[in-house]
């Protein structure tokens, strides 16, 4: 264990801090809405150009092309969290599809998709869940039938985040109905403007439509969109899911929220006293800080194991469960600390932080459910992490 920074790294840290500070004015603000807002794209381009994101992705695919260096990655993530400067783009395309393609994509797929995705010019949605296939994802029924060089797809997806804004979908379809449920699935990429796709927004508890239902009627897509091999989609999906769960529990994103919470509690006063000076609130804040530190340290451990190509084990399996819960708790404390003002939402002069704490409190609950529910995470931790006996097999094949 050695966590001290050599002069090279302290210099790097100062360099990153300076870059962020000097260029913070270029970053998009909350008012720059829209996934492809020019300010967001320009900011992303700047960050990639400086090696502050997409750092280790090869130059030929639009990344920065640096050698993997976990300390540098950590320094960058920490500087974003510390400074509160808006972080790089991170959608399902960047966080989940790009790593999957790097691992399993064909050269053409890498060539075609990684660069625009990294630069925020190509938005993706994840077409996995179906009305009857949530936790039991492998029971999915959306059918793809071979026809010459194409597949013809029929079926329905649900809970598809950003499907309305997406240019492309990475989708799981059943290509071999006769095979066992995990063996007949194919992972395939296709454009969302292909004829036969209908997207219907689904309003959620936050009051906006963050996700959608997607209907496929005779959607004809080329076979070249298959990632890895036909009927091996379950393996590909699992590779993606690992990245999703890493993204959902990202400790540096959590740290950034924690920093915001501290600022809020320093700013806000009740009965003439700053919230931070209230011992009860401060104690809860410190309890959360301990967890934030723990998850950050856990993240370092994971990075080290990955780099050494060692198994990550339990440290990795707990990230989604713990990270999402921690985010939810941070938002919960912010609401409690704000007292009766904590319930304000939408607009109004007394609203604090644009109502974002309530939004997060709800959305974070969504993320405790999405991407594998907390209960499924616990099953995985017990069965894969602790080697405990598996849940009884279902009575009927779905």
């Amino acid at each position: 264990m050695d966590l001290t920074l050599s002069p090279e790294y302290t210099a790097f840290r100062d360099h990153v801090a300076k870059l962020l500070e000097e260029n913070a004015h270029l970053a998009p603000g909350p008012e720059d809405k829209g996934l492809k807002h020019p300010k967001r794209l320009a900011w992303q381009k700047f960050l990639i150009g400086e090696g502050l994101t997409a750092r280790t992705i090869p130059k030929e695919y639009g990344g920065y092309g640096a050698e993997p260096d976990i300390l540098k990655s950590r320094i960058i993530a920490e500087e974003f969290a510390r400074s509160g400067v808006p972080r790089p783009l991170a959608g399902q395309g960047i966080s989940m599809l790009v790593p999957t393609l790097l691992e399993l994509g064909t050269p053409e797929q890498k060539e075609k998709y990684i660069r625009p995705t990294l630069h925020g010019e190509m938005i993706w949605c994840q077409g996995y869940s179906e009305p009857g296939a949530g936790s039991d994802l492998a029971s999915l029924q959306t059918k793809a039938v071979e026809d010459g060089d194409d597949y013809v797809i029929n079926g329905q997806k649900i809970w598809t985040s950003t499907a309305r804004q997406a240019d492309m979908i990475f989708c799981l379809v059943r290509t071999d109905p006769a095979a066992k449920k995990h063996h007949g699935i194919t992972y395939i990429l296709f454009p969302m403007d292909t004829p036969g796709i209908e997207v219907r927004p689904l309003v959620d508890m936050t009051g906006s439509a963050n996700f959608n239902e997607v209907f496929f009627t005779d959607v004809r897509v080329p076979k070249s969109g298959v990632v890895f091999e036909p009927n091996k989609g379950w393996q590909v999906a699992n590779a993606t899911l690992t990245h999703e769960r890493g993204m959902l529990g990202d400790p540096n994103a959590t740290k950034a929220r924690f920093v915001e919470l501290v600022e809020l509690m320093k700013r806000e006063t009740v009965n003439g006293e700053r919230l931070i000076d209230n011992p009860l609130l401060c104690d809860r804040l410190m309890a959360l800080q301990a967890e934030v530190y723990a998850m950050q340290a856990n993240g370092l451990r994971i990075m080290t194991s990955r780099l050494k190509r060692e198994s990550v084990g339990l440290a990795g399996l707990v990230v989604k469960l713990q990270g999402c819960e921690l985010n939810h708790q941070i938002a919960g404390l912010a609401i409690d600390a704000l007292g009766e003002l904590g319930v304000l939402y939408g607009d109004g002069e007394h609203l604090r932080s644009e109502g974002s704490w309530q939004w997060r409190y709800m959305y974070d609950l969504g993320l405790i459910i999405g991407g594998g529910t907390a209960q499924i995470q616990k099953n995985i931790i017990a069965e894969r992490g602790l080697d405990m006996p598996r849940e009884p097999k279902p009575a009927v094949r779905a």
Binding site: S129, G132, G134, S135, D136, S139, I158, W159, L202, V203, D204, M205, T269, V270, N271, G272, L280, L281, H328, G332, I335, D336, L338, G339, E340, L341, G342, V343, L344, Y345, G346, D347, G348, H350, L351, Q358, Y361, M362, L365, G366, I368, I369, G370, T373, A374, Q375, K378, N379, E391, P394, A395, V396, R397, A398
Partner: protein
Amino acid sequence: MEFGLSEDQTLLQETVRRFVAEQAPLDLIRKIAEGDAEAKQTIATGMDELGLNGVVIPEELGGAGLGMLDAVLVQECLGYGIVPSGFLANVVASSTLSSVDTGLAQAIAAGEARFGIALNDLVSRRDGAGLSAENGGLSGTSMMALSAEDATHLLVCDGEGNLHVCAPEDHQVLSTIDRTRVFVELKLSKAKSQMSVTDDRGALARACLLLAADSLGASQAMLDKAVEYAKERKQFGRVIGSFQAVKHLCAEMAAKIEPSRALIWHAAHALDMDEDEAQVMAFLAKAHMSEVATFVARTSTEVYGGMGFTDLVGLHYWFKRIGVNRQLLGSPAQLRQMAAVAQGLAAA
């Protein structure tokens, strides 16, 4: 000794339960959330017909002559159906006023007076906020006033903790997560204090207990829905309710809700009997129920999976009802602190 409801109380409970189930289905609540004034009026009319607003007003003043325990039973039913109503404000006002202003109490019982209450400043006061009583009258602002949007009278508190009755003046509707109920910021400028009462936190205790009862009802509804869904929804070829993980979620909710109901009933009875520890119990009941309800709100949503997060099943209306109740009139920590102070266990 007998801990339980009387026959009349069970009857009252059943009447209100039926009213809520029949007259306030989720469709109607959704309309209210979208601002449909007629839908809201349907409920107010129905409650007037049942004479609910006069529940704690003595019979000789036209009320039902019942107590806080009865009021709590009604509020629990209203919370179960997330029914927006002026019941809580009217009960708090009438129990404070019955002994000092029989005319006003009579007017509430007759449905002629509808109260809004603004007691938040008894618990916490933000910089620049709060009402003060000076020679000229009541001036200032008060956050998160309940049922004040269409009230004929207001029960408010000043900086000294005294309660006043005054006529409504200006207010600003606040946008909160809970669209079914209207909360406002009161703005008064030299409003005439028609009467002032030194009430030593009795009104606050009653309001807290009723909020606790409301969250109790909402929690019970969420648990019932979760259990029902868990028996229908299938994954892995089984109903999800057959997974121990899901069963335990439901069992934990039930295990927390059941004793909370007993606590709330007991606290109501203590207020009715004017027992020494009545206020302490009321504060603790709200503190505890808020924690339980927060747990139930997220846990029942989890049982529903992605469906719970959508607007489709409307579970979020209960989630938000509970979320707002928690923040009203004192967070759990503030109320626990008040309970400690009231018992002389902590310095004020």
